[in-house]
Symmetry: D2
Subunit: 354 residues, 4 copies
């Protein structure tokens, strides 16, 4: 099916096609379309549970409970609401349950604006909650990916029994583009051997918990988690290279900003500067090695983000001081233009920093 | 005054000496002594407000409200409870209010154990809440510092109108040592021109908010915040160097672990390996330049943490690939011994990695 | 279908047969079987929404929201949990929405015991919430009625657009008896002209609210409500008379206690005292006239309750001083025996009070 | 001290004079002046704890906790907020703790209006929470009494270890009158032998709870409570008689309405109808006997309330059918005029009903 549709709606339709069975959420701009659209759709496609919880904290804990049954469950919110979910996310990661969380970022910190931003990168990728854990993080750049990544998220979430976050922003959430939807996935879940859906007589009860009083038990769980994360880091890196082959300079950017940077790169090329764009799609696992492989081939990297400079730390960790890395960013809900990015790049080159 | 006292009590007595006027909190092991001790003390030292809130979310929002009056206000919790405070912390940082938050870390993720850990470094230093903001973060290594840093925290909090976190752990919280307390600070606050304590006729109302609908306004606020952070990064770096002058190898470690590493360094020196310990005291601002200055002088760095490797990213960002950095860590509530750290160092040297 | 089953389960199976579509609740002894049974059944009979809410307050407000769509929605709890729902119940009554609330009473006040009691009569019948409103209240005396009254409750709830409460107790909830279940009712609801399920083009939006700022508007709503209550009082009185025809004394009692009183009446008759039992089934509307009609025919009334004397006020209001009314009650979770009731009656007669 | 002041402020100043040490509350119209006034005063009179809680539920539970220490603690709200407190009130009554709750009633049910009403009589007097318990209930009719009854409330609350409610309404809360304040009471509390303020070595710990698993224990507590209530019913009845001595007709009314009825009685007397007003001041304990004593002396009673008829049940219980009782009421926030009350009385007389 093809549809001209908003990003927030594409996520939602994607969830319906992906066979999601349960959604818990609480309204917040700029992602309120999700709940609104779902409420309408659930009316027609009976049997799906869509519930406006008492708060974001209630929502994420309901996700925790429902995920334990092995059903496809998801939630969505925007920056402040996601902060409220940090305890719950840590619990879900520790208990190793699959689920999808969508963050349609807005400008912060605090209540901030309702305009788009990318200033939750650190929270999302480094661990907003307590303890050593990782969500798998996917950053779509198009409305098409807003839908596609829902399907991918559930595949990864169930493969690794791990929460997945789609990290997007208010601009992509509100933007309309044509989307080709994937085929309807089955809603009914196969009985999963870890799910708590009634104990057959021939096995012990499944227990889902994140509480382990004995530290040696808790360390074993951490060792197991870290092993899983190494596997994810090995197998699930996703990224996109645009005009990178002959590039003298690389712009690193994620999400919608990568598209703006592509236009900036074209503007630069018109002026004779050979620029490529490297877009990490999976923010965790981060494509360290892929960026590192530019060492020796390029003169410098401009990292562009809608924040004060967050992913740039991972870019710097990638190149280990062997390629200069500079930053251009806008904050508080401002979306940068291709022109200002191109100009920032030219200034850094002219200044001898790149 | 001198006292043989637990770490959690030292923080509390420190708060009384520092002239703290208000505490809001919710009990959680391993920091429940704070509230218990305060409840007793507040009985005798009338006039201090000590309130067990309905939850950690209530507590941090009460801190937000009280901080707006310019009073010395603080809260404390342990890892899961701190996760619940992330939205509130982002609001307080955005509204530029002074306060103190103490995190007595326990093993995670999830409910985890009640044993000590350092696995909230990322959450604390990189931003557990949404948006671009920083707390000033101090990591005590002794019970003495547990008390001293309370005084320092309030000085920094009011100087920069910024939340300060003391990041410690369950072992230091429960450990007893002799503490020399500083002199009693004044409780009554001087009228601060930004505080919301009644509007005199000759000025406009003070408004404390983190909501700014217009993105250009919000960007200006972010620019102002970032300028403040640059100032903090310039002036407020604190660290300790132990036996670093002639060292061939440096162990980086924070908090209690730095003391264990000092013993490990002594063990190594007994075996003829010249090892020093570098202890960041302020985790934000992080002493990047001070660690960088080891480049060319040492053979390698072993970073030791009670987690899966978090501060190591900042250590690597410091040396920019010019000094090898390896990691040794324990997780889930296990405290490493000097012997195993020394052995880990020897193995890395023997394996040619350091 | 016939089944040997607990009272709490009979309510639950009754709800499934009655075509209930949604249940929100929070566990509390002695009615936890409801949620447990539902969780199991909902697994097999897909499409029914069963949700453990964050609290009783969340549950009743979810009931409020769901009831607005015209679906069959219900909740259940025990005494303290029902107290938490009082604001929500007042809202639902004011907004004139149909729903079912089951109170499996336990001994109070406060947390009290988990044993059976009837001490929420006043709360239920006189208005535990604020404002002038009434729930329709049904008090079952058998496990069979526990099931039957669910069907009846929804018929009344939808007929009058009014919340209905089944007021029962922990003893009946835990007691097992044979139940003949009624036929499966349709789950799908006919489109109701007041429900908020999407506005057709040819009418105004349905608005469900209990907020009316203008007092004359609010008085009109109250006049409308009172008119409805008069209608209910006229048409929906239900009661049972047992051995009343030739009785010299009447015992008034509701719920399970009425059965114990029936045995007490038999004991009394064996001793030559002609005793009947009058059991109000609908507590609101209360059968004032029916009790009043005993005036002049009997020598006295003994009101028996598992509380300190609550329904007795309505009994006294019925007889208007023309028949003596005495009381026998047990409190705090104690169930009276037929013997002690019979003895109490004999004592009152011997003492000349009846 | 004498002051021209609003009713809501008179309660608040009264609380300061009564030596109240702690207030927890949450804002709601029409009683928001309480918290606002307190916030200002507490600034100047340091040492009093004034806290805006997270919700009414938080507030009443904080009252529960603070009352356990034997301090003078109070809260206030309006109708919907009071409904949210019902569980907590039942707990406090069961645990036998002194405190003051002020209900500045508004029109209901539901969110209703913000205009005055008396429709929470049943909730207040019969038991809005679960279980057999009573608050002592005082209904002021003047701004002077709004202040005086605070002092009286604390005397009664501590004498009987029982929660006291001042039941007033939005009109009296907003009305301004001259108030003569009583003398400042001591704030510091004498050590009470039941309070939980630190255990001396020579006695057992005081335990404050409302949970008693064993029903025979819980029954003993109920027997004790009922004995206390009988004592209160014997000693603490308060009422006012106005022009009752020669009256042929009595108007019963409480609170502000009693004053309007006094004017209505004067109007009636101008027309030759001898009317008196009987005003219950304590609604619990209710002056049954005092009203009963009119039997045989008067021709009839008109009960007037700002609700659909609630106190009338207690009036009818008083006269036991021996004096006709009719009702006149306004609902939803409408205050009746003396003229319409007088007319209602005349009509009832003309119609032969009185």
């Amino acid at each position: 099916m093809r549809k001209f549709i908003k990003g927030n709606e594409a996520v939602t339709v994607g969830a319906l096609y992906a066979g999601c069975e349960i959604y818990f959420g609480y309204p917040i701009t700029p992602q309120s379309e999700v709940l609104e659209y779902l409420a309408r759709e659930a009316e027609q496609r009976t049997g799906m549970v869509v519930l406006q919880a008492e708060s974001e904290i209630a929502a994420i804990n309901m996700v925790y409970g429902a995920a334990g049954t092995g059903k496809k469950v998801w939630t969505s919110s925007s920056s402040p609401g996601i902060s409220l979910m940090q305890e719950g996310i840590s619990y879900i990661a520790s208990a190793e349950l699959p689920c999808l969380i969508v963050n349609v970022q807005r400008g912060g910190p605090g209540l901030g604006t309702i305009q788009p931003a990318q200033s939750d990168y650190f929270q999302t990728v480094k661990g907003g909650g307590h303890g050593d854990y990782h969500m798998i993080v996917l950053a779509p750049a198009t409305v098409q990916e807003m839908s596609d990544f829902v399907k991918l998220s559930f595949e990864l979430a169930f493969k690794y029994r791990n929460p997945v976050m789609i990290l997007t922003d208010g601009a992509l959430g509100q933007m309309m583009e044509k989307v080709e939807f994937f085929e309807q996935q089955e809603r009914t879940f196969e009985k999963l051997d870890w799910a708590t859906v009634g104990k057959p007589k021939n096995r012990e009860s499944n227990v889902i918990t994140s509480l382990h009083i004995k530290p040696d038990k808790m360390e074993l769980i951490n060792i197991h988690l870290q092993k899983k994360y190494r596997q994810i880091e090995e197998k699930e890196i996703r990224y996109e290279e645009i005009m990178c082959d002959d590039a003298d300079y690389i712009i690193t950017a994620f999400g919608l900003v990568a598209r703006i940077c592509t236009r900036a790169a074209e503007l630069a090329r018109e002026k004779g500067i050979k620029v490529g764009v490297f877009r990490p799609i999976s923010l965790y696992p981060f494509p360290y090695e892929n960026i590192k492989s530019f060492n020796g081939k390029i003169k410098g990297i401009l990292d562009v983000e809608m924040n004060a400079g967050q992913m740039i730390e991972d870019v710097k960790l990638s190149v280990e001081g062997k390629t200069p890395v500079e930053f251009y960013g806008r904050m508080g809900g401002i979306v940068p233009t291709p022109e200002e990015i191109c100009e920032a790049l030219e200034n850094h080159i002219a200044g001898g920093r790149l």
